[in-house]
Symmetry: C2
Subunit: 297 residues, 2 copies
């Protein structure tokens, strides 16, 4: 199963990277820096967890993953924009991202701001052009566009960033911290899974399952992030470790201690896996969920 | 006609402002600053030229303007995001906008960045939710979503900002300056007019007319902007005059001189009006075009 899973994951990865390469505005010509900046940040993408979830949720609900490729890539572009803007000096002021200079260190602040804006805008262009690109159903595309906008907006991901910003330096309780992570991390994973389900025409119950799975996956994912910031090395992470403690950031680790945080990660991972049990052909997703819990970076 | 035009314009304005008030995420609750920031910047909106164009183009092509209200408001939200990000310190670093402190002066840089991101995202949420809000046709909504994304993206408005940025301090020729303004200013006006036409189900020829009109209107609009920066007062403009000269910005005035720039504004306004002559019931749009040329702020 493990080898089969890996081959499967790599096939998705290759499909997603090829599609991103095809879809993103081509480099070249004059005033090229912004297109280079967009591709620079998107290409630092790693495992493409979000678009992989979109494709797989489309598949398990009986859809053709290929038809969901533009939507999957839209989720990845939106994710990338959020990282670029998050790294800006007025936000987290991070100089590195995945072992490379962050977008504004490489291209300057104004270009990074605009590259983020362009990627966010491009995400919606991709979804709206999916019927032409892959014969995706236009009504499902409009639904996906709404889901992505809602989950990424002020009542979703951006709302989480605001909460994060405004609670900086204050002592958080577990409930508020969980809400921040639900918005900052889970919301976009929910969009990824839901969009996949919607592109396959899944019914309401199926969509609810996809959303619930993603919510728990996001919490597990974030808790593991918090743990790795304490237990990993800079080489493994591709960014400085211990930055949470240095920035006096409240995390699940600072709130509960390392052991209890590990329990929490396992517990939310288990909750995600239990939701999957309600779905058909959940083998790949179970492995993926497990992999995210045990990752080292 | 003049009075009739004014009443008409005010009716649109009231409709647009009421819709924005209804649609935008409500203020209140915790972590409210971002929702306040979004409303702060949207409410500084003035004449709502772009959404007015959307509604009127919908009307003249036989559609119900009410059905296009969410799309019209989406164009305005997108326009507002572009102003917020444009004013940021890493971009134009403007402290004032329409006589009030710009968003980042009022709310801080991070909140302004996020308020812009949220408004951009919200624009696409509005379009995708239009079928539910106003029984708009979903296929037309998807088309409008694509148009807005294309015109606002890296090959449209954002592309224009990049060109503007990268040519700063260099000597521009008229062709490059025109291209910058076509992207920075005309592209979003094109989206406004095209989206209105599309929401009415206009045919290809009608859409081309709408786009051509908007392109010339944008160039006229920008040329008048350049002229006002030299001839107006700070009180009238609500922002410092002479900033173009101070920033050594190449404008149509610096390139051609004031008289020739005025000629150019008249010429592009005439070109816009001539395109309108091909359309039915163009009276309102002719007055609007005329008004934009003769404005004092």
């Amino acid at each position: 199963m493990r080898n089969e899973f890996q081959a499967w994951q790599e096939a998705y990865l290759a499909q997603i990277n090829a599609a991103l390469e095809e879809y993103l505005p081509a480099e070249g010509g004059s005033f090229n820096a912004i297109r280079r900046a967009m591709r620079y940040s998107v290409s630092a993408g790693g495992k493409r967890i979000r678009p992989t979830l979109t494709l797989e949720f489309c598949r398990i609900f009986g859809g053709d993953p290929v038809s969901a490729l533009p939507v999957a890539c839209a989720v990845e572009c939106l994710h990338t924009y959020s990282l670029i803007h998050d790294d800006l000096p007025c936000m987290d002021d991070d100089d590195f991202r995945r072992g490379r200079p962050s977008c504004h260190k490489e291209f300057g602040e104004a270009e990074a701001l605009l590259a983020g804006d362009a990627l966010l805008t491009f995400a919606f262009e991709l979804i709206a052009s999916a019927p032409e690109r892959t014969s995706a159903d236009p009504l499902r595309c409009l639904k996906a566009s709404r889901i992505l906008a809602e989950k990424a907006g002020v009542l979703g991901m951006v709302g989480g960033q605001v909460m994060d910003l405004e609670t900086e330096g204050t002592s958080l309780d577990a409930q508020t911290l969980t809400e921040i992570h639900r918005l900052k991390t889970s919301a976009l994973l929910e969009a990824a899974c839901l969009c996949g389900a919607v592109m396959a025409g899944a019914d309401e119950a199926g969509c609810q399952c996809a959303e619930k799975y993603a919510r728990n996956l996001g919490l597990a994912f974030q808790t593991v992030d918090d743990i790795l910031d304490v237990t990993s090395t800079s080489e493994e992470l591709g960014k400085p470790v211990g930055s949470d403690a240095e920035n006096q950031k409240v995390t699940f680790v600072s709130l509960y201690g390392l052991e209890k945080a590990k329990e929490l990660a396992e517990q939310t991972t288990r909750a995600a896996a239990e939701t999957l049990a309600l779905l058909p052909e959940q083998g790949f997703l179970l492995e993926l969920t497990e992999q995210l819990l045990s990752r080292r970076s």
